[in-house]
């Protein structure tokens, strides 16, 4: 399943931040990637402070331009206490100076430096999780780490959690839409959310599981037939939202395709049963 990810597997290792109660329930060898004891952090202990600072910086670099930097208290309340933060990183000493500087790595620190981050929070049904956010430094510094960091991070997060169902959000204009679409088909729960910071937000859901992870990590989904709609058009999103609210089923069935200023996404839409 992990063919093609060799450069990541060679140089990067997973980390996780979760309270001890949750740590004891997690798969600590997700996709065969072992989480070393020194890379497991309890947010209730002061020893997690440096890593949490590095994560806050990574979040600021990647979500700041979107106006969605997560306040540190929100990290704590909305991820570390109820759920977890995980991702891939590498030792500080193995990073080039420009990245250590960009990530605000303190001189003398040689622990793990996160290069990707996934936040997951439990939903009310067992094995159903909210993919709260996903990011990689590559989004703002292409080449800082190998390609595929986000997809692999999502994949091993799902396996770590033994997740069967995932709900998530992404902005239609975000490059993250592409990585989520690897796990298609995605059921669209919202296409236009006026109450959100960014109304052009997609809330989606998909059934997770080993087969879905494997397919996403080995070249993505087989392109399905779907109606291409330009999701950069607000009116398109508002129409989709009206259909969803009227009880229609709206699914993303393939990868987004850029065409000039357009961003075409393949959808399958069906009327209410």
């Amino acid at each position: 399943m992990l063919q093609g990810y060799e450069t990541i597997l060679r140089d990067y290792r997973p980390y996780v931040i979760a309270t001890t109660g949750l740590l004891g329930r997690l798969n600590m060898s997700p996709l065969g990637l072992s989480v070393a004891p020194e890379d497991r952090f309890d947010p209730l202990r002061r020893s997690s402070e440096t890593l949490l600072g590095l994560l806050e910086r990574l979040d600021g670099l990647t979500y700041g331009p979107l106006g969605m930097t997560m306040p540190r208290w929100a990290f704590y309340d909305c991820a570390e206490l109820p759920g977890l933060i995980t991702g891939l990183g590498r030792s500080a000493s193995s990073l080039p100076p420009r990245l250590r500087e960009a990530l605000h790595v303190r001189p003398g620190y040689d622990g793990i430096v996160p290069m990707s981050m996934s936040l997951a929070v439990p939903m009310l049904e067992e094995h159903h999780w909210l993919g709260y956010s996903i990011c990689s430094l590559n989004e703002v510094s292409p080449g800082a780490s190998p390609r595929g960091m986000r997809a692999l991070t999502i994949g091993f997060t799902l396996d770590m959690l033994d997740a069967r169902k995932i709900t998530g959000t992404t902005q239609w204009c975000s490059p993250k839409l592409h990585v989520h679409a690897l796990f298609a088909p995605l059921t669209v729960l919202t296409a236009w959310l006026p109450a959100h910071t960014e109304p052009a937000t997609c809330t989606f859901r998909f059934d997770a599981g080993e087969e879905r992870i494997a397919r996403a990590l080995t070249g993505g989904i087989a392109e399905s037939e779907g109606e291409l709609l330009d999701v950069s058009e607000v009116s398109v999103l508002q129409d989709l939202q009206r259909e969803i609210e009227a009880g229609h089923s709206v699914r993303i069935v393939g990868l987004p395709r850029e065409a000039g200023a357009r961003l075409d996404v393949p959808f399958v839409r069906e009327g209410p049963p």
Binding site: L22, R45, M68, M70, R72, D77, P82, T169, T201
Partner: protein, 283 residues
């Protein structure tokens, strides 16, 4: 439908005479909740689906309530945190007033648009589930009560939190609050609180304590200011002053070394926005 009367006998009965409960949650989450906490029925018209655009005006007002109550402390909640961090995963329970009964002072405080009709939220409690279905994280308690001193809203925060925890069917609640926060008065009404952290670098304000509360009916009734309820307040072994960061860090070191502590009562004011909090060491 006539709402069932609440089984609470409140010190301030005006709260339930003038305010109605509301809930913001996805339809799939609503199915898990108690829509009649302590006999107080949540009217279907006051259940708001965050996935639906018709909830927009009400969610805007919740944002205004948050800014009015947490904005001055520098911790207003971004809208996307509301959505991801509360509305999708857990729920928002609160109490509000029909727009026709809202005073000019409250309209101004909560920035109620002239054209708005419907319930105006005066208080809300936000909580998220954890991996343990009995344990929830209390994320935010906001009450306009202290900002509207002439509107007979005393006790609104505690009542809202009690009803919210009952609605979410929690058995244990985790929360984070600052040592200098007046909210400790409210939280300590649930009885002794386990102290999980006394100094919290993961938080924007490290002088944050993380607590764990048992949320049985007795604790929740006392939290709601029910005249028939009471909780034990054991004698403290020592007090922690809200600005004594060295003591808070020392306490954190002891917790990490395996010692256990409880917060056993309401804070005592030391003036100048300082307070001290009673702590007991557990065997």
């Amino acid at each position: 439908m006539i709402a069932a009367p609440a089984t609470l006998r409140l010190r301030n009965p005006a709260l339930l005479e003038t305010l109605s409960p509301f809930l913001v949650a996805t339809p799939e989450n609503v199915r898990h909740f108690d829509l009649g906490p302590f006999g107080l029925a949540v009217d279907a018209a006051n259940v708001f689906d965050p996935l639906h655009t018709r909830s927009e005006a009400f969610l805007d007002l919740l944002g205004h309530l948050d800014v009015a109550t947490f904005g001055p402390e520098g911790m207003p909640m971004p809208r996307w945190v509301f959505f991801n961090g509360a509305e999708l995963t857990g729920g928002i329970f609160g109490l509000g007033c029909p727009h026709t009964d809202v005073s000019d002072a409250a309209r101004a405080l909560l920035q109620v648009p002239d054209a708005y009709s419907g319930l105006v939220p005066f208080a809300m409690y936000i909580a998220l589930p954890t991996f343990d279905p009995d344990v929830w994280v209390g994320h935010n308690l906001a009450s306009a009560g202290p900002l509207l001193p002439d509107e007979r809203l005393k006790g609104l925060g505690g009542l809202t939190k009690a009803l919210g925890l009952k609605c979410f069917r929690t058995k244990r609640q985790l929360g984070a609050t600052q040592w200098d926060s007046a909210a400790i008065y409210v939280h300590s009404r649930m009885g002794p609180l386990g102290v999980l952290t006394a100094w919290t670098p993961g938080h924007s304000e490290p002088w944050t304590l993380t607590y764990a509360a048992t949320t049985d009916d007795g604790a929740l009734r006392n939290l709601a200011h029910d005249l028939d309820a009471s909780v034990a307040h054991p004698e403290p072994d020592f007090w922690v002053e809200s600005d004594d960061h060295a003591e808070q860090q020392r306490l954190q070191d002891l917790i990490e070394a395996g010692q256990r502590f409880e917060l056993v009562g309401p804070p005592e004011s030391l003036g100048s926005k300082r307070q001290r909090i009673p702590i007991r060491q557990l065997p």
